[in-house]
């Protein structure tokens, strides 16, 4: 079971706590997206899973094994970085082979692996090129290729599409989804782009200010947000949120009364925030 379990994970820099006790279970083969505004702690959480940041408190389990003190190389995770982190002095093949050579994989095995993954990603014609001679989309594919060749238990993506233009981003989203379906590797993906989160995720984790606000499938979060933050964060244009008071049959908002299906009876007079998505207007 290559699941990832976070239990009470805390990250603090001195007296400043930035992640406040996160609990999250990512099942094997699941594609989970951490989404939230800038500075909400999603990248820090991902980096703690990768081993690039120390965990101040709590337990991180990968594949049933506690990983808090385990070196990144021994966690069997592969990470795709926001700026691709490609070695500018190496060509595509050598970039993809870097981790394998470090692990002293036999040369012929490296070649076979690189050729297979290059084929999957459509990189075969570019294996001799350096990153500077590639387009943004091709670089992104090389970065993913470098992660894939390792055959890790977990893929970690840190805003991998944020440097691409809108058209390429849509294309690469589909490609990542296709790859995940094909490889079936547990994936944790960080983004601030809710469209990416909604289209890629099996489950979305909405984070704010170092805390998890809600975890659920895209439609659960969209239709039944747990709080006003989640309601406002997901959806474009965002949900309209209006303050009012409950009545026996609905809610009074200013001069208007809105009928609400459900049990409002008996709660009349209580303050309420009514959320209506733009799509909800007939």
């Amino acid at each position: 079971m290559s699941g990832v379990n976070l239990s009470g994970i805390i990250k603090a820099y001195g007296a400043l706590q930035v992640v406040h006790g996160i609990d999250l279970n990512v099942a094997e083969k699941e594609f989970v997206v951490l989404v939230g505004p800038s500075g909400c702690g999603k990248s820090t959480t991902l980096r703690m899973i990768a081993g690039l940041e120390d965990i101040t408190d709590g337990d991180l389990m990968i594949d049933g094994r506690r990983m808090n003190r385990i070196a990144p190389k021994d966690r069997d995770v592969a990470m795709v970085f926001q700026n691709y982190a490609l070695y500018p002095h190496l060509n595509v093949a050598d970039n993809m082979a870097f981790g394998l050579r470090i692990r002293k994989m036999p040369k012929d095995e490296i070649k076979t692996t690189i050729d297979n993954v290059a084929e999957i990603l459509g990189l075969t014609p570019y294996l001799d090129r350096r990153p500077a001679d590639l387009s943004g989309g091709q670089r992104q594919r090389v970065a993913m290729g470098r992660a894939i060749v390792r055959h890790p238990k977990v893929f970690l993506f840190d805003e991998p599409l944020s440097n691409l233009d809108a058209k390429l981003r849509t294309q690469m989203r589909a490609e990542i989804k296709r790859l995940h379906n094909r490889l079936g590797v547990t994936s944790i993906y960080v983004t601030h782009d809710q469209v990416e989160a909604m289209t890629l995720a099996d489950r979305i984790v909405v984070m704010n200010d170092g805390r998890i606000e809600q975890v659920g499938t895209p439609m659960e979060l969209f239709n039944n947000p747990a709080n006003t933050f989640v309601a406002g964060f997901l959806g474009s244009p965002p949900m309209n949120q209006m303050k009012g008071q409950l009545t026996e049959s609905g809610a009074q908002i200013g001069d208007a009364e809105i009928r609400i299906n459900g049990a409002t009876a008996g709660h009349a007079g209580r303050d309420v925030i009514v959320g209506i998505r733009p799509e909800g207007f007939a």
């Binding site: 190389k73 990470m79 982190a85 070695y87 390792r150």
Partner: protein
């Protein structure tokens, strides 16, 4: 008109450039007028303009002069040792500083190795002469502990080059490491993070990421260094050498100094200087072309 508009709009930038242009004109271009005496039978009474032309006569004299040939050979040999040992030293130092994680220790070590750069060459030479003194020098004191006779290092030709090159490294390696440290600081940190996740250790990261990433800077510095091959630290040679070590210590610049200023043969000295400059120019052009061809890095 467009040029006028451009100057009008950007005059502040050109005003800032002006001191440098003046410096170049006064100290580098105007003296070139005097270079013509390399082709003249120069007389201080007739002046530069009125001295008669004699073609390449001084160059013929130069290349038939054993002392000049020896000076050229010494210059090239000392420069070669400087390149071989002195050029990698600041790179190695920068790589070592980069691996030091303790901030206070790192800052202290850096300050200590930067300091000799700010000491005048006269003081440096004084320290070296004292350190190698056969009577009170620390080196000979240590040699004495082993029951050996003192060595007169600075009077023996075979010791001049190691002492000179070593002193140069001690004086400049620390300060020279700054440019490489800056290059290292410019390496994308996520390259290291990616390598850490891939399983690379610090040694592998240094060889496979840091050094290749700063290679363009190394090559640029090498080109500049090659351009200065004929410019062996004149002051330090003058301060450390003596007639008994001329055999290995006398370089083109000290020869020019002795011929030009001490013997009054300004025209012959100018020919020697011009030869020096032409060789340096050819070297820097060659290094630049080779670097551009093989590494896509060049000064221009």
């Amino acid at each position: 008109m467009r040029l006028y508009d451009h100057f009008k709009r950007e005059w502040q930038i050109y005003a800032m450039l002006l001191p440098t242009i003046i410096w170049f004109l006064v100290f580098l271009y105007k003296p070139m007028y005097g270079l013509q005496i390399a082709f003249k039978d120069y007389s201080i009474f007739k002046g530069v303009a009125d001295s008669p032309w004699i073609g390449f006569e001084h160059f013929k004299t130069l290349f038939s002069n054993d002392q000049f040939i020896r000076a050229v050979r010494n210059t090239i040999t000392i420069s070669f040792y400087n390149l071989l040992f002195g050029f990698p030293a600041p790179i190695i130092l920068a790589l070592m500083f980069n691996e030091v994680l303790h901030a206070t220790y790192k800052r202290t070590a850096q300050t200590i190795v930067y300091l000799p750069h700010f000491i005048s060459s006269v003081i440096i030479a004084g320290i070296v002469i004292t350190a190698f003194s056969p009577t009170a020098g620390i080196i000979n004191t240590i040699i004495g502990w082993f029951g050996l006779d003192p060595v007169y290092f600075l009077t023996q030709p075979q010791w001049f080059r190691p002492i000179f090159v070593g002193t140069g490294i001690w004086q400049e390696a620390g300060f020279g490491s700054i440019v490489f440290l800056a290059a290292i600081a410019g390496v994308n940190p996520s390259l290291y993070e990616s390598a850490v996740v891939d399983g690379a250790n610090r040694w592998q990261m240094m060889w496979k990421i840091t050094i290749p990433s700063i290679l363009p800077t190394i090559l640029i510095m090498l080109i500049i260094r090659i351009g200065n091959v004929m410019e062996v630290s004149f002051e330090l040679v003058i301060l450390l050498y003596q007639p008994s070590t001329y055999e290995t210590a006398d370089v083109v610049n000290t020869w020019i100094y002795r011929q030009g200023l001490q013997s009054g043969q300004y025209d012959l000295a100018a020919a020697g200087g011009l030869f020096n400059a032409v060789v340096a120019f050819v070297l820097v052009m060659t290094a630049n072309t080779l670097s551009r061809r093989f590494s896509r890095t060049s000064l221009w």
